[in-house]
C-alpha cells in the first residue's frame, strides 16, 4: 500500500447525450475507510461506480486506483478492485465453488492461492454450507452474498459495492452490514445506497450526490454535529397549554403533535430537559416520555437535495 489514497477520482464528468449524469465529482478513499455514496434514484451513483471500476469511460476526469491510472493501465489497476454491480454478476448455471474458482482464475490467482482465497471468501460471506449448490437455485440473499464473495475474493485494495443490501430481508441486511464493516477494516470500501440508515450503520464518511453533483462530503460525526438542532420530544398524560411550555427556561418553540406529544426546540446550552421534567412534576402533567431528537440523516438529506444550487458550494 504505497499510495496515499486507494481510490482517487478527480473531476469526473460523464455525459449521456446532452445531459451530464455525473458532473464534476471527485472522491478519495483511504485504507480502512467506508465511504457511503448517497443520493436519490438517478443521482449518478451507479454511473460513478461504473466509471471507478472501468466499466464506463468518463467523458473527462482521472481515476487512480492504488496509485495506478485506471484509464492508462486498466488491467493493472483492475487487479486492485473488487466490484459488485447492482445486479450480482453470477452465472446461474454454475455451482458456488465453480463460480468463485472461475473468478479467482480471471483475476490471475494461482491455484494454491486461489483455494485459500476461496475458502476465506466463502467463510466470510457465510457461504461454506452452500458451496456445492447451483447459484440459480439459491435465494436472492445468497446470490447477493456470492456477488460480494466475488468482489473480495482476490483481496483487492478497494471494494466497490453498488446497493449491496437491495432486496434482502432484514436479517440478511444486518449480516451484510456486519460484513461490510468487517471489510472496512482491511480494505477500503465504497458503497452506494439510497437507504439512509444504512449509511449511518456502516459508513465512516458520507458523500451525497444529487443530479450528478456532490452536495455534501463529510465524516459521519461531522455530519451529526453540523446539523444538530436540539429538539426534545415529550409526551404527557395531561397535556399543558403551549404557553406553559414556552415559559420553561431555554424553550424556544413548541410544536404540538398528536396524543399529547410535543416537539420542543430549545437553546443548545441550557438544561431544558431537566427544567421541563421539573415543570412537569410541579404542574402534574404526567410526563410519560422525554427524548432528545437527533437531526436524522434523512432531514439533512432532504434539506440538501432541496436547497438551491448556489448554496451547494458551501456543502
Amino acid at each position: 500500500m504505497t499510495a496515499k489514497f486507494l481510490v482517487e477520482a478527480r473531476h469526473l464528468y460523464r455525459r449521456y447525450g446532452g445531459a451530464y449524469a455525473v458532473n464534476d465529482i471527485s472522491l478519495t478513499l483511504r485504507q480502512g475507510e467506508v465511504l457511503g455514496l448517497l443520493g436519490p434514484n438517478g443521482a449518478g451513483k451507479s454511473t460513478t461506480m461504473r466509471m471507478l471500476t472501468g466499466n464506463l469511460a468518463p467523458s473527462a476526469g482521472e481515476i487512480h486506483i492504488n496509485g495506478i491510472d485506471l484509464l492508462d493501465q486498466p488491467r493493472q489497476a483492475k487487479r486492485h478492485l473488487g466490484y459488485l454491480p447492482e445486479q450480482p454478476p453470477v452465472y446461474r448455471d454454475l455451482r458456488v465453488d465453480e463460480y468463485l474458482g472461475y473468478c479467482a482464475r480471471l483475476h490471475g490467482l494461482k491455484s494454491g492461492k486461489a483455494a485459500s482465497a476461496m475458502a476465506d471468501a466463502l467463510e466470510r460471506c457465510a457461504l461454506t454450507d452452500v458451496r456445492r449448490r447451483l447459484i440459480g437455485n439459491l435465494s436472492k440473499g445468497y446470490q447477493q452474498r456470492v456477488g460480494i464473495a466475488q468482489a473480495i475474493l482476490h483481496r483487492p485494495a478497494a471494494v466497490i459495492l453498488d446497493e449491496p443490501t437491495v432486496g434482502l430481508d432484514p436479517i440478511q441486511i444486518r449480516e451484510i452490514r456486519g460484513l461490510i464493516r468487517e471489510l472496512g477494516r482491511e480494505h477500503a470500501v465504497i458503497l452506494s445506497t439510497h437507504i439512509l440508515p444504512e449509511v449511518q450503520a456502516v459508513c465512516d464518511r458520507v458523500q451525497m450526490i444529487h443530479q450528478g453533483r456532490t452536495v455534501f462530503d463529510d465524516t459521519l460525526d461531522g455530519l451529526e454535529n453540523r446539523h444538530a438542532e436540539p429538539v426534545l420530544v415529550a409526551a404527557f398524560e395531561h397535556p399543558p397549554a403551549e404557553a406553559a411550555l414556552l415559559m420553561i427556561t431555554g424553550v424556544e418553540a413548541v410544536e404540538p403533535l398528536a396524543d399529547g406529544r410535543f416537539r420542543i426546540r430549545h437553546r443548545d446550552d441550557t438544561r431544558s430537559a431537566a427544567a421541563l421534567a421539573e415543570a412537569a412534576a410541579e404542574g402534574d402533567w404526567g410526563l410519560t416520555e422525554l427524548t432528545p431528537e437527533r437531526a436524522t440523516l434523512e432531514q439533512i438529506f432532504v434539506d440538501l437535495v432541496h436547497r438551491e444550487p448556489d448554496s451547494e458550494a458551501a456543502a
Binding site: 449521456y16 447525450g17 471500476t53 472501468g54 466499466n55 464506463l56 469511460a57 486498466p74 488491467r75 493493472q76 483492475k78 487487479r79 478492485l81 466490484y83 454491480p85 447492482e86 445486479q87 450480482p88 454478476p89 453470477v90 452465472y91 446461474r92 448455471d93 454454475l94 472461475y102 473468478c103 482464475r105 480471471l106 483475476h107 490471475g108 466475488q150
Partner: protein, 251 residues
C-alpha cells in the same frame, strides 16, 4: 487467461439442456441421412458402376453428401449456440464480471470463441463417427474425409465468428439468433444467385462461404479457401473486440 475463459464457456454450454438437445437432434437427423446415403450406395451406385475405373467410391457417395447436409443443418443450429455468448451475459449482467476483471476485451472475445470452437469440434467429431464406422467394412478415402472435416470446421468457425459478433450487438439472445440466421442465409442465397446460369457472378460466389466449402468436400485443399475463412473469422472477431471496447464509451 484465454484458456480459462474458453474452458468455462465450453463447460457452461454443456450445463444447458440446449447443447444436449442440439447434439441429439442434429445427430439423429444426420444418422437418418447417413442411412439413406449408405442404402442408395449399396442398392444403386455400387451395382451401376461396379468395375468401372474412376467411379464414385463410398466416400464420395456417403461421406461428402453427409458433410454437405451437416453444413446445411448447422446453418440453423449455429445461431442458437452463438446467440447466448455475449447477449445473454449482457442481459444477465455477468459481462460486468469479465469487464471488471484484469483482462482485455480481446481475451474475453477469443476465450469465448475458442470455447465455442471446442463445441464445434465435438459436433464434427460426432458427425465424423458415421463415415468412420464404414471403415470396418470397406476402405475409405482418408484424405477426402479429412478435407471435408477441415472444411466443415472452417465453415462452422466462420458461422461462429459471425454469430459472436451479432451477439455482441444486442442484449436479446433471440435478436442475436435471428440476425445471425439471417446473415448466414443471406450468404447462401448469395451463392445460389451467383451460381445460377442466367446471372452468374463470380464475386457473389466468392463472398459466400459455401463455394469455398464445396471445394473442400471434393477433397481439394486450396490455400485461397483457407485464407478466405481465416480472414472471415478474423474480421468478425476484431469487430467483436471493438464492439466490446466501445461499450465503455457508449454515447
Amino acid at each position: 487467461m484465454i484458456a480459462t475463459i474458453a474452458r468455462t464457456e465450453f463447460r457452461r454450454l454443456f450445463f444447458s439442456p440446449l447443447a444436449w438437445a442440439i447434439l441429439a437432434v442434429s445427430q439423429f437427423v444426420l444418422a437418418l441421412l447417413f442411412l439413406v446415403f449408405t442404402e442408395s450406395f449399396l442398392t444403386e451406385i455400387q451395382p451401376t458402376y461396379a468395375g468401372q475405373p474412376g467411379a464414385p467410391g463410398v466416400t464420395d457417395a456417403v461421406g461428402s453428401p453427409l458433410f454437405f447436409w451437416a453444413a446445411f443443418i448447422m446453418l440453423a443450429i449455429m445461431p442458437l449456440l452463438t446467440m447466448r455468448l455475449i447477449a445473454d451475459e449482457r442481459q444477465a449482467g455477468t459481462l460486468t464480471l469479465l469487464v471488471s476483471a484484469p483482462i482485455s476485451s480481446a481475451q474475453i472475445v477469443l476465450g469465448k470463441y475458442l470455447g465455442l470452437l471446442g463445441f464445434i469440434v465435438v459436433m464434427i467429431a460426432m458427425v465424423m463417427l458415421m463415415p468412420l464406422s464404414l471403415a470396418a467394412g470397406t476402405s475409405l478415402d482418408w484424405g477426402k474425409l479429412a478435407a471435408s472435416a477441415l472444411g466443415l470446421l472452417l465453415l462452422l468457425g466462420s458461422f461462429g465468428a459471425a454469430g459472436l459478433y451479432l451477439s455482441s450487438l444486442t442484449q436479446q439472445p433471440l435478436v442475436a439468433a435471428v440476425s445471425s440466421f439471417g446473415l448466414l442465409l443471406f450468404l447462401v442465397v448469395l451463392y445460389i444467385s451467383g451460381s445460377t446460369q442466367s446471372s452468374a457472378s463470380e464475386l457473389f460466389v466468392y463472398i459466400s462461404h459455401y463455394g469455398h466449402f464445396l471445394s473442400f468436400l471434393q477433397g481439394v485443399f486450396d490455400t485461397s479457401d483457407l485464407a478466405y475463412y481465416l480472414l472471415f473469422i478474423a474480421t468478425f472477431l476484431v469487430l467483436t473486440i471493438r464492439r466490446l471496447d466501445n461499450d465503455r464509451l457508449q454515447r
